[in-house]
């Protein structure tokens, strides 16, 4: 099947005068795990709600495996497992009763229900709490219940809206592990604030800001070519004192270096600088310049721009929807 699992085209949604989505388009092939990033209020939840068949778009189309989520809502909803934001659950129900209820509403044949519930319980590690009220569970277990209801009907597509929010670091690792495991068989689209989560679980990142898609790439490629900083510590080859201003001007003239700032040195006779660079890697030129000017490089430490920095750059300038970051997409 070459059909894309998700295809969204020109999706817009407005609530009164506020525009939550402004013409978002993307496709997700079958089997991909996609991270959906964006600041609060960027439109992540709205896009996921539309995809899940809960909210209706103002304009544009969204299709799940070729099925339109508006025109053929029930059919598309059958293919989706959805974990809404804040993981709402029926607090007063027992875990088992709740999963049985979901299985019934999901239209799973009565003969099959037991097995499906058992699978979901095993998969999400809920065996120990199966006869407890959901209201009594810890946040980590609640999240597992939310995931269990989302996978009980073995859907092709999982939509997870902030699956790890509010969990402690151990629980986050557990849930992430679970998502990774699910991602081996299913298409997953998940939204999050935690950027390291995207790097560890997703093969693709969509960054959305003020209702528009501003980036769409793999987490590695997204930070690649964005440059970074090189931290250098140098000293004089001949042992004489170094003039900071002089060295700074030498470094500033190296091709590829966009900025030079003084940084921590390593004691007397040494100087430290932080060199900013863009797309071009200046290390080779740096080395040659050092030799030519009688400088000895004691340390060269390169740091790529992190996803955090890329994210901040792409989503900066709130209130200026037509800023350079938005156009870059």
């Amino acid at each position: 099947m070459s059909e894309a699992m998700i295809s969204i085209e020109g999706l817009s949604k407005s609530y009164g005068t506020t525009q939550a989505l402004r013409g978002v388009s993307f496709e997700v092939p079958r089997g991909q795990v996609v991270g959906f990033l964006g600041p609060n209020g960027a439109g992540k939840t709205t896009a996921m709600r539309i995809l899940a068949g809960y909210a209706l778009p103002t304009a544009g189309t969204a299709k799940v495996a070729g099925i339109d989520v508006v025109l053929n809502s029930l059919a598309s909803r059958r293919m989706i497992g959805y974990l809404p934001e804040n993981n709402p659950l029926y607090e007063e129900m027992m875990v088992l009763d709740f999963l049985a209820f979901v299985a019934q509403v999901r239209g799973i044949a009565p003969a099959e229900q037991r097995q499906r519930i058992k699978n979901a319980v095993d998969h999400c590690g809920l065996k120990s709490v199966i006869s407890k009220d959901i209201g009594q569970l810890s946040k980590g277990f609640r999240q597992r219940v939310g995931l269990a209801q989302a996978i009980i009907h073995d859907p092709d597509l999982l939509i997870l809206d902030e699956p790890t929010s509010g969990l402690d670091p151990n629980q986050i690792v557990e849930i992430r592990h679970l998502i990774k495991e699910l991602g081996q068989q299913k298409t997953v689209i998940l939204s999050t604030h935690i950027l390291s989560e995207v790097q560890s679980t997703c093969s693709r990142v969509l960054i959305i800001n003020e209702g528009k898609l501003v980036a769409d790439d793999s987490p590695e490629r997204l930070v690649l070519g964005e440059g970074g900083t090189i931290h250098v510590v140098l000293t004089s080859r001949l042992g004489n004192a170094l003039q900071a201003a002089e060295v700074q001007s030498i470094l500033a003239h190296i091709p590829g270096v966009s900025s030079v700032e003084t940084a921590e040195a390593e004691g007397a006779g040494t100087l430290g600088f932080a060199l900013g660079y863009g797309k071009e890697d200046p290390r080779r030129a740096l080395f040659e310049a050092a030799v030519k000017n009688g400088l000895l490089l004691l340390e060269v430490r390169r740091k790529h721009v992190s996803l955090e920095e890329t994210f901040r750059k792409l989503t900066a300038g709130e209130g200026a929807p037509s800023g350079p970051s938005a156009e870059a997409a």
Binding site: Y15, R49, A52, G53, Y54, A55, L56, L74, A75, R77, R78, I80, Y82, P84, E85, N86, P88, L89, Y90, E91, E92, M93, D97, F101, V102, Q104, V105, R106, G107, Q149
Partner: protein, 239 residues
Amino acid sequence: MSTALAVARREFKTFFQSPIAYIVIGVFLLVTGWLYFSTLFLGGTASLRSFFGFAPVLFVVFAPAVTMRLLAEERKSGTLELLLSMPIKDWEVVIGKFTAALAMVAVGLLWTLPYPLSVSSLIARGVSFDWGPVLGGYFGLLLLASSFLALGLWASALSRNQIVGFIIGLLLCFAFYFVDKFAFLLPSSLGEILQFLSVDYHFENIARGVFDTRDVLFYLSLTTAGLMLTTRSLAAARQ
């Protein structure tokens, strides 16, 4: 339809697991029991007429109390999003909730059966107790309850706040109860229209033992209208 049934079962079970069920039904029985037996021996007739006389006005209060949380709570806690993203049609959700509410009221009414049973045993030897109006009365009460519950359910769909849902439901039910109470002051043509809109007027017909399809149709249309409005409000809640 089986999905609607799943919703109804869940709602019914939840209702009887919560204290609200016992409070609502308990208070209902207390009030009806007191009102009924305090006047029974003054009237001197072995019938349920007085019970069926005040039951409609009690339902004005109790029906919205049963329905107030059915949709408001789902909206407030966010579970509505979970439910409406499952493969279930909006009207199936509404029918499920309504069926559960009607079943709850039926359970409450079941506990009033000792009234006719005890009265029928008080009757003089050789005279038979007239069960006709009793059965008609119960049938009418269920019809009346279903129209009030449909209105109450709509009220519950309008707000995320249960109390607001209760008050709107109470006002709606009260309006349909009260509409003909001052009809005698108006020209007779207008009065008749108001009378036709009155939930109480149709109930009196049925409780007298007069079976008229117009009365039944009135309740069924009011119920249908309420459920359709609920479905519309639910669709509007999909933001």
